[in-house]
Symmetry: C2
Subunit: 175 residues, 2 copies
């Protein structure tokens, strides 16, 4: 389960602007970013390091196009489990461990888990659903086929409501 970081660091507007930049594209000169933000290269570097150390930036990664690997079929599977025990964590891990499963959410309500999967062929999809059902504790599943995706490029920082932005900037200042 994601259980990242304890300390909520307070960020200023420059940090937010920087995050928006690098969350969209890190494959540029530091100088380009520096110009954009009216900062020196060193200052950008300094802030980036801090953000990494604080865990705000969890990592720098390459984004791979699933279609380029032939993963043309996407499905969303609702998973219902037998509710007796505290096995939720295990079942979540088991779901995620299945190859093809990209993301697993543990949810409140009638549905216990939502899994997003990508595969190449209908056979693989069939097989994957079989493997989900075979997990110990899984009672029932219901899958939706994904016809299209609208993606935000995962831009967390550029996707805040104005209230949310303010709340981020209102650090408690206790550092």
């Amino acid at each position: 389960m994601s259980d990242s970081r304890r300390t909520a660091p307070d960020l200023d507007e420059t940090d937010l602007a920087l995050l928006e930049q690098v969350e969209a594209d890190f494959d540029v000169n530091l100088e380009t970013i520096a110009d954009e933000l009216d900062l020196s290269k060193s200052a950008v570097h300094y802030r980036l390091n801090k953000l990494k150390e604080e865990g705000v930036i969890q990592g720098i990664t390459a984004d791979v196009d699933p279609l380029a690997l032939g993963l043309e079929l996407t499905a969303i599977t609702d998973v219902m489990v037998a509710h007796e025990r505290g096995y939720s964590e295990d079942i979540g891990e088991n779901l995620l461990a299945l190859s093809g499963v990209e993301q697993v959410y543990y949810t409140m309500g009638d549905v216990d888990f939502v899994a997003v999967s990508r595969v190449q062929t209908r056979d693989q999809l069939n097989d994957l659903i079989d493997r989900i059902v075979a997990i110990d504790g899984v009672n029932e599943t219901s899958s939706k086929f994904v016809l299209g995706e609208f993606e935000n490029d995962r831009a967390v920082s550029s996707n805040l409501t104005s209230e949310a932005r303010e709340a981020v900037l209102d650090g408690d200042g206790s550092s």
Copy 2:
């Protein structure tokens, strides 16, 4: 809608291994990767460039921890729309445009869209759902609260079944 690339490039095992590396962590020396793959730095660089040009690598980005921005509440919302027209695309865009919405899937079945959202407070969540319902064409929604996430770090390349790996490596060789 994601409609990325036309040409399905054929990749070899080195490309796949390289993708797995950089998809997990790009914040390292090229030499580290080169050592890992028994290649020269230049060769690594050459292949990375090719992968970027081919669109296999869509970009290099910083991954920001939503929790660090106070986005502690995640919801998955099923959206049902009025089915008369071909407005699906518009509705998808409208959903994604709402701040707080991170990802939108267009699905087959009883549910037409699935939206994943992140916000800081219950008020923001309430407000977001109101804004979803207010979109023209949206009929009904049903939301699940997310208690936990199991994430694959979005590692597309390291998440292939053995069949899928083989299918990727069986390029048609037409380049």
